[in-house]
């Protein structure tokens, strides 16, 4: 009886593992396939039957992106000159994306952390309405305010600059950073701060030495969300930026589809490189991400 039930349990667990592995494989398959394609030479990409694990591993696609290859190649390997190629701008776009992502996240986090501290520690008119007003703002999809913002950037003479994107991303990330930081600040006990204030510490000292360290998990969670939203955005980059030099990765990479050739190896390598920064962030800070989801800070 006892050994039979242990056996049954082992079989059941094995079945669960099997289901789990199949499901995980199916879900991860698109990403695995992209990685595999990006590591194949041209000849193997179009081979039938397709190979999951490349027979001839090559980094030529990555090399082409990172060194800015100037030519298109056809399937047989014959070079063809067609003027500038998107690959030449890849590193530039990558740097642009990093700049606007970090810039907008920094502003959003600084502004929302200060505001959340003020809202939870001071009393003044309208303070309880602000977070809910923020929440409302974060429900509005970006397609609605992208054109008014664009016209505003025209008036501020910021179109086609990375500043327009930084400000635009502040506008989409600030509402939920505000909401999350407010929810987080509210849960930090106020007693230590009061004790420090009574002992003669100034508000600024209290904020820097007591509040900021205890708000750090919230700040990390909000930063991850802000970075993911800014890094992944396509719409603002598409509308705000005209010149090829100032594009971000998301908009730039879609240019690989222009012209007659679609270089799938190159595109998949670009996809992998675009996903890696967020993947590293995600893996390093996964705990906080789940905490952030819990606080309801999900835009998507």
């Amino acid at each position: 009886m006892n050994s039979a039930s242990t056996l049954w349990k082992t079989v059941k667990n094995a079945m669960l593992y099997l289901i789990l592995c199949v499901v995980t494989f199916l879900i991860c398959f698109p990403l695995i396939w992209a990685l595999s394609t990006s590591l194949k030479p041209k000849s193997e990409i179009f081979a039938t039957p397709p190979t999951l694990i490349p027979h001839n591993l090559t980094l030529e696609n990555y090399e082409a992106l990172l060194t800015g290859r100037q030519q298109y190649y056809q399937a047989q390997g014959a070079p063809q000159n067609t003027g500038t190629t998107p690959a030449q701008f890849f590193t530039r776009w990558f740097i642009n994306s990093v700049i606007v992502t970090l810039g907008s996240t920094l502003i959003s986090i600084a502004v929302s952390t200060l505001a959340a501290y003020s809202l939870t520690r001071f009393r003044y008119w309208g303070r309880s309405a602000v977070p809910y007003f923020s929440l409302l703002g974060y429900m509005v999809p970006s397609i609605i305010f992208v054109f008014p913002l664009f016209l505003m950037m025209v008036r501020l003479d910021l179109t086609d600059s990375l500043w327009s994107l930084i400000l635009g991303y502040v506008c989409i990330t600030l509402p939920f950073c505000m909401w999350l930081m407010w929810a987080f600040m509210r849960s930090i006990p106020i007693e230590i701060e009061e004790a420090a204030l009574i002992d003669g510490a100034s508000r600024y000292q209290v904020f820097r030495q007591i509040v900021l360290p205890s708000a750090l998990p919230g700040i990390i969670a909000a930063s991850i969300f802000a970075m993911i939203v800014s890094w992944n955005d396509y719409l603002f980059g598409r509308v705000f930026i005209n010149s090829i030099d100032n594009l971000t990765l998301t908009v730039g990479v879609m240019l690989f589809f222009e012209g007659t050739h679609v270089d799938w190896g190159l595109l998949m390598a670009a996809s992998v490189l675009m996903t890696v920064p967020m993947a590293i962030l995600f893996m390093a800070l996964q705990r906080h991400l789940v905490a952030g989801f819990g606080a309801g800070a999900v835009k998507g």
């Binding site: 698109p30 001071f122 054109f147 008014p148 396509y234 996809s271 996964q286």
Partner: protein, 298 residues
């Protein structure tokens, strides 16, 4: 006297800390949304700003008489309902699977949540590659395993293009449902299951009589939330199909974008945006109702 001065300066600090937010919010949230509503009542071509004129409700009359607007509306509805249905079913299933206390579960959890952070552009690119009718791995596998005889034109026939965008959406956002359901599952009292077991309830009965009622609340909130968001999605559709073939995968966001960007009718695009906002508002009221705001401060 000293205390009074302290209070005054303290109040100033509080206002100083909130000031950057108020200024940013006024400039970059309140103003653009107000402007978006105002533009809906104007005829506005960005290339001819001199011709800008107040047109009253003409933009709304235009969209309500435009068959493409209504087609976009119904396509968005179908797209949303099917996406949410599959997300919820898969999300609950996966969460139940991941809830088991097995060795290495943290690893699987991490992997299964991964799609959520992949940029939509990247997913769209990968989708175009694996669903390519001639050289894509999906058609190859389906033909090789004998499921289909002829290649399926995933992105160039209306029904299949719709199916592909739904698959993309489900793939990307199921993790969101998983996270929410998983968090709730972890707080279901184990005694309930023990009691059900003693009463002789099988796995299925335990799911329907114990688990599902416990999940009801979180599921309603997740479904309403995701419905609002999915209905207004832009990038998931535009990047994969551009609303095509033809206009068969247009939703209101794509319609608004095309009116503003391709036809340069910013007023018409804005009017579509206002309609989207009204739909959103109705959705939000439903959300606030089911989330129980107002009844008790959470």
């Amino acid at each position: 006297m000293h205390i009074l001065r302290h209070l005054q300066s303290d109040r100033a600090v509080g206002l100083l800390f909130i000031a950057p937010f108020v200024i940013t919010a006024l400039f970059f949230m309140v103003y653009p949304i107000a402007e978006a509503i105002r533009m809906a009542f104007y005829s506005y071509n960005p290339l001819r700003p001199d011709l800008t004129a107040f047109v009253g409700l003409a933009n709304f009359e235009y969209i309500f008489e435009d068959p493409l607007f209504w087609a976009s509306f119904w396509q968005a509805t179908v797209w949303t309902l099917l996406s949410i249905l599959f997300q919820t079913v898969f999300g609950v299933g996966l969460a139940l699977l991941l809830h088991r206390a097995l060795f290495g579960m943290a690893f699987f959890r991490g992997l299964l949540l991964f799609p959520y952070i992949v940029p939509t552009v990247v997913i769209a690119l990968i989708w175009r590659w694996i669903f390519n009718p001639e050289i894509g791995v999906v058609n190859y596998s389906l033909i090789a395993s004998g499921i289909i005889k002829e290649p399926i034109y995933w992105l160039s026939t209306p029904a299949m293009a719709m199916a592909s965008t739904i698959m993309l959406n489900v793939w990307k956002y199921t993790p969101f449902v998983v996270i929410c359901v998983l968090a709730r599952l972890q707080s279901v009292p184990l005694e309930l299951y023990d009691a059900a077991k003693v009463d002789g309830a099988g796995t299925m009965r335990r799911f329907f009589d114990v688990t599902l009622p416990q999940l009801k609340e979180v599921l309603i909130v997740v479904i309403v939330f995701r419905t609002i968001w999915t209905f207004n999605k832009f990038e998931e559709i535009y990047l994969l199909t551009k609303g095509g073939p033809g206009t068969s995968t247009f939703n209101l966001a794509v319609y608004s974008f095309e009116q503003s960007m391709a036809s340069l009718r910013l007023g018409v695009g804005a009017a579509t945006g206002v309609v989207m906002m009204i739909i959103l508002l109705i959705g939000s009221i439903v959300y606030l109702r089911v989330a129980g705001f107002g009844e008790n401060e959470k």
